[in-house]
């Protein structure tokens, strides 16, 4: 009846595991109680969970990302605390538990923090920037969101029922195979990734079609904003790279469930092919994450320097070049696997080449700032912090691209320092810059600047304290993923790193306070014009938050910075002569239902509850068919209603119009 699931699965074996479970369950209960108390369930259901509006889907993605950032950070600070005291088997975590923590930290940060954050920002802003009313496939968009949420929920549930994988975020066989890992942990990891990976593939396709087919008249490819360009390239990478990890994890699942031998040396399998397939996805993945962040930095730097972006064309070509080159370097993640010198040399050289277009971009941003009148908004500070710090990470990356050097540093904390040095300033700072930049667009009031700056400085200083010591430790030979060690000279470095994590904690606390303070003072920072930062591109020409249809009349574009141009010519904020009715996709519960049953399906496979697998598969199938054959998937907003909403907007603009 319940497959492998018994009462044993509850984490009562250790106080720390039980505590983690209690916090998870308690947090969920607390949210439920608050929602009930506010009587917000109905509102949540009709206005958010069933929404297919790209702006709301974007916001929900970002909420998911911020929650998972908290969870991922708790894992991080637990590891830092453990390693700070782990000399000679000290510390408070048993090895089994420590292994689960680094595995869940890496998995969560990449798949359930960074991916949803990026997808959310693209969803929220890209359709506005290209002057369209929604993405090409609004319902598919909702399905992608709920599949990502289902994957995240599987990782969270593993805290309470059963255990998570101990095989790291990469899940290499043979260790992740059934022989060495008979428990449910690896299965949780596989199904979380498979389910959310399907969502990401579909998001990628959705964005590509939207950008290629839905641009406003006059917006040629070379008039698209840098963010839209990077979103396009990242989406192409998503559509092409994600199938590789889906195949790799799918084959691993078959090995584990059906007794197959794709990755076991017995019976002719080859575990090295797993590493190969995983990184065919894995390297493009890092560019999927960082390209949109590059786009955000480009927008932020131009806006707050009050200057046109320097070298737009070179930036576009650099982005496209990176996108293609990112498919030619994957072997640098397994130089030590035993390939011949020629193979290693080839991938080492391609890796060094990819640094060139990235370097071009740094000059684009620097020269945009040069002689600009810079406004040090928190988003601008994230960008400056990024440029300085990212260059250091880039240098260590080129160092690691030399195979003989990689042989020394591979699997040490030098590597851990390198990729955090790319991914925290590059990816996370970028998304946070975007979050603070576009927050007023999404909600109609600004985020508090002071707490934003406090958060920035804590993150920046905390980052240096937490990761610079790891470079040195790596050079001294400390391997990554160590639960304990016996070299007393390592401990001081690890204590500094732990201090760094505490400073980052202050940064996260500042972000939470920032949200509270900004909501409290929302009347003071209200954004009535929709254009708080003297913006340059189309998203700032709508109200904040934008109406459901984004643009009452689809704009015609004649410049790379159409809104700035319109403001200069005095054509901005002009009332159109008349309005036309607008078709809008109607809300549907099909997305949440699909995501909910995808979660049940994953859970049931993990625990081998086969009847439940069949039931949820059938429900999902029926949901798709039902929604696809629904002829009332859209409704019409009459011209009169559009006029009423637009009149309200012009009244708000009031004196300015």
């Amino acid at each position: 009846m319940f497959g492998k699931l018994t009462i044993e699965a509850l984490p009562l074996y250790s106080a720390i595991a039980a505590g983690g479970a209690a916090v998870t369950v308690g947090g969920a209960l607390l949210v439920a109680i608050v929602l009930t108390w506010l009587k917000a369930w109905k509102y949540l259901w009709t206005d958010w969970l069933t929404s297919v509006d790209h702006k709301r889907i974007g916001i929900m993605y970002i909420v998911l990302a911020l929650i998972m950032l908290l969870r991922g950070f708790v894992d991080a600070i637990m590891m830092r605390a453990q390693q700070a005291m782990a000399l000679n088997a000290g510390g408070y975590l048993p090895p089994e538990h420590f292994d689960q923590i680094f595995s869940s930290h890496g998995t969560i940060m990449i798949f359930f923090m960074a991916m949803p954050f990026m997808t959310g920002l693209i969803n929220l802003i890209m359709p506005l920037q290209i002057g369209t009313r929604d993405v090409a496939f609004p319902w598919l968009n909702a399905v992608s969101l709920w599949l990502s949420a289902a994957g995240a929920a599987l990782v969270m549930v593993s805290l309470v029922i059963g255990k998570f994988s101990t095989a790291g975020w990469t899940g290499y066989p043979p260790y992740s195979g059934i022989e060495y890992n008979p428990g449910v942990g690896v299965d949780y990891w596989i199904w979380a990734i498979l389910i959310s990976g399907v969502g990401s593939t579909m998001s990628g396709i959705n964005f590509v079609v939207t950008i290629l087919k839905r641009r406003a008249p006059g917006m040629t490819l070379m008039r698209m904003t840098p963010f839209t360009w990077t979103a396009l390239c990242a989406s192409v990478l998503m559509a092409f790279a994600f199938p590789a990890i889906t195949v790799a994890c799918g084959l691993l699942a078959l090995d584990r469930l059906a007794g197959m031998h794709f990755f076991t040396n017995a019976h002719g399998g080859n575990m090295m092919n797993y590493a190969n397939l995983f990184w065919i996805w894995g390297h493009p993945e890092v560019y999927i994450l960082i390209l949109p962040a590059f786009g955000i930095f480009s927008e932020v730097v131009a806006t707050f320097s009050r200057k046109r972006l320097f070298g737009y064309e070179s930036l576009v070509y650099a982005t496209a070049a990176i996108a293609i080159l990112s498919f030619t370097v994957w072997l640098h993640h397994f130089f030590t696997m035993g390939s011949s010198a020629n193979v290693n040399a080839f991938f080492g050289v391609t890796t060094m080449i990819i640094a060139v277009p990235t370097g071009v971009k740094v000059f684009n941003w620097l020269l945009t700032m040069y002689r600009g009148r810079i406004d040090f908004h928190p988003s601008m500070m994230w960008s400056i912090g990024f440029i300085v710090t990212f260059v250091i990470g880039g240098m260590t990356g080129v160092l690691l691209a030399i195979p003989p050097a990689d042989f020394l540093m591979h699997n040490t904390t030098f590597l851990v320092a390198h990729f955090h040095n790319m991914i925290i300033p590059g990816v996370l700072f970028g998304y946070l810059a975007g979050y603070m930049f576009w927050f007023p667009k999404a909600f109609g009031f600004e985020l508090n600047r002071g707490w934003g700056l406090a958060s920035f400085w804590c993150w920046l200083i905390g980052f240096y304290l937490a990761f610079m010591p790891l470079y040195l430790l790596g050079l001294k030979g400390m391997p990554r993923r160590m639960e304990t060690y016996n070299d007393p000279t390592w401990q001081p470095y690890l204590m500094v790193a732990a201090l760094g994590a505490v400073v980052v904690l202050c940064g996260i606390a500042s972000m939470v306070i920032q949200i509270y303070v900004s909501i409290r003072d929302r009347k003071l920072t209200e954004d009535r014009t929709g254009d708080p930062f003297d913006g340059r591109t189309l998203e700032w020409s709508t109200s904040s938050p934008p109406p459901p249809y984004n643009f009452a009349v689809i704009p015609t574009v004649g410049d790379r910075e159409p809104f700035l141009e319109a403001k200069k010519n005095g054509t901005a904020y002009r009332r159109p002569a008349s309005y036309a009715p607008i078709r809008i996709p109607s809300n549907t519960p099909a997305g949440v239902i699909l995501g909910g049953f995808a979660f049940v399906l994953g859970f049931a496979i993990v625990w081998h509850i086969w009847w439940l697998v069949i039931v949820s598969a059938i429900v999902m199938f029926i949901t798709v068919i039902a929604r696809s054959s629904d002829d009332n998937a859209e409704f019409t907003l009459s011209a009169g209603e559009v006029k009423r909403m637009e009149d309200e907007r012009f009244r708000q603009l009031g004196s300015r119009a």
């Binding site: 590789a244 090295m272 035993g338 193979v343």
Partner: protein, 99 residues
């Protein structure tokens, strides 16, 4: 629409079935030595892709817009990199394991 008529779909369907049955049959019956079985599976897979593009996605060189063909070329390039690269890497490893 007529040119996408039922006949076309049926031809595509029959070809797709034939191209799937052959590899399954070869593997199930061990009719040929492994090396040759692999080769035939590979060829059948590539033909299968072409059948889908031609009969189900209606791609051809006269009526399909140029951008779509360009996208196809881009796809072919990426698949070449991924599959070709994997072959290179895995056969290189294989060789080093043998000697």
């Amino acid at each position: 629409m007529e040119q996408h008529g039922l006949r076309n779909y049926l031809i595509g369907f029959v070809l797709a079935v034939v191209l799937s049955v052959i590899p399954f049959w070869l593997v199930a019956t061990h009719a040929l030595p492994p090396q040759r079985t692999l080769l035939i599976i590979g060829i059948a897979a590539v033909l299968q892709v072409l059948v889908h593009l031609r009969f189900f996605l209606h791609l051809n060189f006269t009526t399909t817009p140029k951008e779509n063909l360009l996208a196809l070329v881009f796809t072919a390039l990426l698949i070449f990199i991924m599959v070709g690269g994997s072959f290179w890497i895995m056969f290189d490893l294989h060789q080093r394991m043998m000697t």
